[in-house]
Symmetry: C2
């Protein structure tokens, strides 16, 4: 496996690098609720012994998790899980707000999960050039109005059995984190205005050709791996996409 | 003047707080090219003496400029101007990219600058509840195609005489910085899909009703003051708005 992420770069010929074993262990404990936000981690020495790696490898893993805001190291005190909650994580990646800027909670209206062969584009974008992917198609409702049509595509190998978990929670990233150890930390979005197709118009109760906001997202997990391709179409007559640039 | 910014909060009854005098001095020197990126600032003591404030006030100003990424303090070495160039600043706030993600340089096609009374909405949004504003209306071209219709509204008191500088540079924030000491550091954007009006369609050579991306921006300067309201309409058939969430 040779993979070049946008931020991270690593090469491994014999499977995963050793520090990833440490990261997986910590992430699994956070995901399982064994390590809570604010909770203290074992020392580097203990961690290295538990996982069976060198202290240097344990340190590298802790540094990576710290860089990504998952852990916080305090001089002379220890290493702690930051207070990242699924909720804050969710709303960081869900940018739709009402006209007053208030957060809206989307609700699931319709859902379909299928496993299928990956397209060439999906293979080129997603982690580990997957042969098979899951396609999760959903219609979501905002304040009583069908407002989003979304299609998420994820590598089948990373999300085994996701089709048996339906109905999926409205916030997929919580599911990814809690059941598959994939913590989404970054997303690149590409936004355009487009005209509603007949099927989109029907799903959203609008006229064919009405303007829709189309957001194409590539989401990266804690290891910088592109794990989800998502295309979202939004009605923006009552809501808008908000972002802060700095 | 009582002003509550989103990030900063300060209250002053007799004009500007003293540390702002120090900030203005430093910002003016950066804007004038006297202090270059990477250049070292005078010590707190020297700065305080030059501007005629206490050392504590000079320190507060330096800390604010550091928090905003304008200065970088190095333990035991001194305080330096960070390598923020007008170019990097510009492209941080100009999010349109071509399909390969490459930066596009917009070119000015048409421009109109007028001074007029502020609307009630502009008064409520912009710094110091301005009575008068400048409205800068521009059509800009991307790779040979008229692609954006933009209207920027700024308080007249902060940008005196801007109507005499036409034609304005394509990157207004460089002008704001170099001629008015206003360094734009943050922008809140509100994005929707909309249908082209007859005048927009004419300016952009598209059909009436064609989908356009509308970006409403409120830009904040280094002091957290909302100094520009901008509405941009983009053709996104050949370009897209890109953003990274993390």
């Amino acid at each position: 496996m040779v993979f070049t992420g946008k931020r991270q770069h690593w090469t491994s010929w014999m499977g995963q690098p050793l520090y990833q074993k440490v990261i997986d262990t910590i992430v699994a404990r956070i995901a399982a609720g064994e390590l809570l936000p604010g909770g203290m981690l074992p020392s580097e020495t203990q961690l290295a012994a538990e996982v069976g790696v060198s202290q240097g490898t344990a340190r590298k893993a802790l540094m990576m998790l710290e860089q990504h805001g998952i852990l916080r190291r305090e001089q002379g005190r220890g290493t702690f899980v930051t207070a990242r909650t699924p909720d804050s994580s969710l709303f960081n990646f869900f940018r739709l707000r009402d006209h007053d800027g208030a957060v809206i909670r989307p609700e699931l209206v319709d859902e379909k999960v299928v496993q299928r062969a990956a397209t060439a584009e999906e293979q080129s974008l997603l982690f580990d050039k997957p042969d098979r992917v899951y396609e999760i198609s959903r219609i979501r409702c905002l304040e009583g109005i069908n407002s989003t049509v979304e299609t998420s595509v994820v590598p089948a190998a990373l999300f085994a059995g996701i089709e048996n978990r339906a109905p999926l929670p409205s916030a997929l990233y919580i599911l990814y984190q809690q059941n598959y150890g994939c913590i989404v930390l970054k997303a690149d979005e590409c936004i355009v205005a487009t005209a509603a197709t007949p099927s989109q118009a029907k799903a959203l109760n609008i006229c064919e050709g009405a303007p829709l906001l189309q957001v194409e997202r590539l989401a990266f997990d804690i290891l910088g791996r592109p794990i989800e391709r998502r295309r979202s179409l939004y009605r923006t007559d009552r809501f808008s996409y908000r972002v802060t640039l700095d």
